[in-house]
């Protein structure tokens, strides 16, 4: 008889179920986003499940294909995003997860480069610059997590304050969490840092040349990404489910609001803003945990 406390539920069954639910949650969130944005702009907006209708429709479309290479990378992109989400849910090494998530970006960039289209080429170039912007901040945040918990393993986030098990990451690394909020628009491809996909200037950047079911696959990958990014933020309060989900919801709402109240920036503006503010937040937070001695060598 398996009870709810059985570790097998939390170590295997729960992550597996979440991995299957992840694209659905991600898609719904995007639907909510579109609805909210529409309401903010005094439009009726599409139904919340519209993203799924879109994907279904894409799968019924005729394929227009330039070459095989970029299709291969699109699928590799999707599979890598799924893999990194799985690793996150199954509590693998945080550093490895961060790099695997980075690998999915690399595949997307290669996909964009593999077609001779100026739009996807520029998009890929910008995608690289965006990666150059957010990845250092993300890795530094992971480094701070490691300092506080003593390990890169996600499991350590639960156990580092044993036996008390009370102190969430949020209390020791509040500014690092803010730094994650800062790079959120990049990871979610939203304004003001939606530079690579800037649909008004370069028509969706690296994914410009996709049609039919492959565009559908890329969209599903995006669903997974939304889930991944928010789940990552949820790690900052693992002690209480209500607060944890609240934190994810807050991050999500934050990204929607920011998306609606800001205009797209140039690449150099993005790099400058994110580096200066992000590094400052991280250094202050580092100083805080050093002074309070809340770190493990």
């Amino acid at each position: 008889m398996i009870t709810l406390d059985d570790p097998i539920i939390w170590k295997i069954a729960f992550p597996a179920v979440m991995l299957i639910l992840a694209p659905i949650i991600g898609g719904l969130l995007i639907g909510i986003d579109r609805k909210l944005t529409a309401r903010l702009q005094n439009r009726a907006g599409p139904p919340i499940v519209q993203p799924f209708y879109d994907v279904l429709k894409l799968f019924g479309k005729e394929d227009k294909i330039v070459n095989k290479t970029y299709l291969v990378f699109a699928v590799a992109y999707l599979l890598t995003v799924v893999l990194s989400t799985g690793l996150l849910l199954f509590h693998y090494d945080l550093l490895v997860i961060t790099f695997m998530f980075g690998l999915s970006f690399i595949f997307l960039v290669l996909a964009g480069y593999s077609v001779r289209s100026q739009f996807s080429y520029v998009g890929s170039n910008r995608e690289l610059l965006q990666m150059l912007t957010y990845e250092p901040i993300l890795l530094l945040v992971v480094f701070l997590d490691r300092l506080v918990t003593g390990s890169f393993q996600i499991d350590a986030i639960w156990s580092f304050t044993e036996p008390a098990k009370t102190e969430p990451l949020l209390y020791t690394l509040p500014l690092a969490l803010l730094a994650l909020f800062l790079i959120l628009p990049i990871q979610l491809r939203k304004s003001p840092y939606d530079i690579a996909e800037a649909h008004q200037e370069i028509a969706q950047g690296p994914v410009t040349e996709y049609t039919g079911k492959f565009l559908g696959l890329v969209t599903i990958a995006h669903f997974y990404e939304v889930f991944f990014v928010l789940w990552f933020i949820g790690l900052y309060f693992v002690q209480n489910w209500a607060v944890r989900i609240g934190l994810m919801a807050l991050a999500f709402l934050f990204s929607i609001v920011i998306d609606n109240v800001t205009a797209r920036l140039r690449v150099d503006q993005m790099i400058r803003q994110v580096y200066i503010i992000g590094l400052l937040l991280i250094i202050v937070n580092l100083a805080y945990i050093l002074i309070t001695g809340k770190w493990i060598a």
């Binding site: 227009k64 070459n67 290479t69 291969v72 790099f99 690399i106 960039v109 520029v122 890929s124 250092p136």
Partner: protein
């Protein structure tokens, strides 16, 4: 098997084959000598691996009469310096002249006044580190030899080319095994001579200039090394590397004005020697200049020989620095390495010449290895050895690919390589594999970076830890940038382009295929490599084998399974490659948002921001300043 026989197989036999191939007439006969040499060398290195660690003492050679090896080596050493003097005079290169004279004086001082008792000791040590190095030199070196048969066809100086290449390999092997520091110095200068001669292979203005620059910088490094050796003999009273571990340090009377901490001064000198050999900042310009040489030479310099000698030396002296309390020295080495790692990656980002990109990326990865030796914990040294191996395989492969691509399209500019996959699918796919292996998980470089990141996070002083992490993060991210851009360019094709009937030169392509397979095999074997082939001195307190749990590398901070992720990676790419079918009917030209024109794409190198002319004028002085700090850290 007899260790002496194996030693001569890896050291003397290449030299012998080199002379044979020099003497025999005709390209075909030379070719067979080269193939034979490659075979013997590979087999010999595998035998050394099979035979395991051992110590050897070679005192004299018997050819009719007994000749003491030491005397021969000293004589050759002086001869070598005279050759440098000759070239310095011939090219009117006064830096070379001056440095060679200085080195001559120092060497004479070492041999006449300092050389301790003539007590015998272990002259050659075959330990795990030298076995690993020997495998790199011999296996990758052999493949490069095979490749150059195809590449150098029709070259007019091909006889001397093969001779020097093979002498280089033999000399490098000797350098790796040498335990007697005075001998090691001779082999060290031998690599300088070989690389100098190979760089000026084409004998035109730019190559002579580049070779002279390489020569004077390496002579400078040689002077640092000989100073280090003199000081070691004075302070530690031994000339054998292996005996340094148990040596008693005493400050000689002549140097009593120095503070007590200066006991590690010789290692600072040796580190500077290593920096020049590995072309770390501020010595980077000789390696980027060396790009004028034929591509197999670049491959040899960058992957299996020359530059590895520098980091090899750093890995050798790292435990000694730890034993004799040079924590500050280690920290400065970390900074020098990290500085090169990050900024050379940034410089590579602004380049369009593929060989220059590779050159900067070599310096950058050597910087990372140097940085690991500076962090100097068991995890970091493991990372250093692992990076050394994985980098050699990937970088050797990439240089050979660039050579082949240059043969096909007649250009080294990556802008010209757009859509190469349609013209030359095999070499392009292999190049892309090589590029991905240098930036993405789960390949070897990633394993190394992952270990480096962990070891940097365990620094006792958190401030340095942050600096080291900063260098690793930005260095890695810049590398990802320029490698993926290049890979993307190779893959950019128009629809329905078909490959022209391929022209195969198997001498060039078989080494490529073997090395590409080597990338996958080396990752798959990571755990075995860690348990069997990395053996750290006791001072570190822990063995890399402690990392391995089943197929997983598990440190106190995290876990990663190279084999599992390699399989996942292959699956992720194979599934779409096998499943996706592109029906002819759905092929269309690029949509390009209806612009309908053949797009003119390119750019994005930010030369005005981070070009060589912008950055180097700041980076070189900082590099020199760091060297000054290196010595200050020891003396203060």
């Amino acid at each position: 098997m007899d260790g002496l026989l194996l030693l001569s197989l890896t050291v003397l036999v290449p030299v012998l084959f080199g002379i044979i191939s020099y003497l025999v007439p005709g390209y075909n006969l030379k070719k067979y000598a080269v193939i034979l040499c490659a075979l013997v060398l590979s087999v010999a290195s595998l035998l050394i691996l099979y035979n395991g660690p051992q110590n050897l003492t070679v005192e004299s050679i018997n050819i009719g009469m007994s000749l003491p090896v030491s005397t021969i080596i000293i004589a050759l050493d002086f001869l070598l310096l005279l050759v440098f003097l000759y070239f310095g005079y011939k090219d009117r290169e006064y830096k070379v002249l001056g440095l060679a004279v200085l080195q001559l004086a120092l060497l004479a001082y070492l041999e006449l006044f300092v050389a301790g008792g003539e007590e015998a000791g272990i002259t050659f040590v075959i330990d795990d580190l030298s076995i690993v190095m020997c495998l790199i030199v011999s296996l990758i070196g052999s493949l490069i030899l095979l490749y150059s048969i195809g590449y150098m066809k029709g070259d007019k100086n091909v006889s001397s080319f093969f001779l020097i290449m093979m002498v280089f390999l033999g000399d490098m092997n000797a350098l790796i095994f040498a335990n007697d520091l005075t001998w090691l110095f001779f082999f060290w200068e031998g690599t300088t001579l070989c690389s100098f001669l190979l760089i000026r292979h084409y004998r035109d203005e730019p190559s002579i200039k580049a070779s002279d620059r390489a020569l004077w910088m390496n002579l400078l490094g040689g002077i640092a090394l000989v100073c280090g050796i003199i000081l070691i003999e004075m302070m530690y009273n031994t000339r054998f590397l292996s005996e340094l571990f148990t040596a008693q340090a005493t400050m000689p009377g002549a140097l009593s004005f120095l503070p007590a901490a200066a006991i590690i001064l010789p290692f600072a000198f040796m580190a500077v020697g290593a920096f020049t050999k590995s072309a770390l900042m501020p010595f980077n310009s000789w390696l980027t200049g060396a790009m004028v040489a034929p591509t197999p030479v670049s491959a040899l310099l960058h992957s299996s020989t020359m530059v590895n000698a520098g980091v090899y030396m750093l890995i050798r002296i790292a435990p000694l620095i730890l034993i004799f309390g040079g924590g500050l020295l280690s920290t400065v080495i970390t900074i020098v390495g990290g500085f090169s790692f990050m900024f050379c990656a940034l410089l590579a980002l602004s380049q369009t010449d593929s060989k220059r990109i590779l050159a900067y990326s070599t310096i950058s990865y050597l910087g990372l290895i140097a940085m690991c030796t500076g962090i100097n914990t068991w995890l970091a040294i493991t990372a250093a050895v692992a990076l050394l191996v994985f980098h050699a395989v990937s970088k050797g492969l990439l240089f050979l690919c660039v050579g082949e691509i240059t043969h096909i399209i007649g250009s080294r500019d990556i802008e010209q390589m757009q859509g190469l996959i349609a013209k030359a699918p095999l070499v392009t796919v292999i190049t892309v594999i090589g590029l991905i292996s240098l930036m993405a998980p789960p390949f070897g470089i990633f394993v190394g970076k992952w270990l480096a990141f962990q070891s940097a996070s365990t620094f006792t002083q958190i401030g340095w830890s942050l600096v080291a992490i900063f260098f690793i993060i930005f260095g890695s991210i810049f590398s990802v940038f320029y490698y993926s851009r290049w890979a993307g360019k190779l893959l950019a094709t128009k629809p329905a382009e078909t490959a022209p009937p391929a022209h195969h030169d198997w001498y060039m392509e078989i080494p490529l295929i073997i090395l590409a397979a080597g990338i996958f095999v080396s990752v798959a074997l990571t755990t075995i490599f860690f348990t069997q082939l990395i053996d750290l001195p006791d001072i570190y307190g822990q063995e890399p084998g402690g990392l391995v749990v089943g197929e997983v590398l598990r440190s106190a901070f995290g876990g990663f399974s190279p084999l599992m992720f390699l399989i996942l990676f292959i699956v992720i790419l194979l599934i779409p490659i096998l499943i996706i079918r592109v029906p002819k009917t759905s092929l269309t030209p690029t949509y390009s948002c209806g612009t309908g024109k053949e797009p003119d794409i390119g750019g994005g190198y930010f030369e005005t921001l981070i070009g060589e002319s912008k950055l180097l004028k700041y980076l070189n002085p900082i590099g020199i300043l760091l060297l000054a700090i290196l010595f200050l850290a020891v003396l203060l």
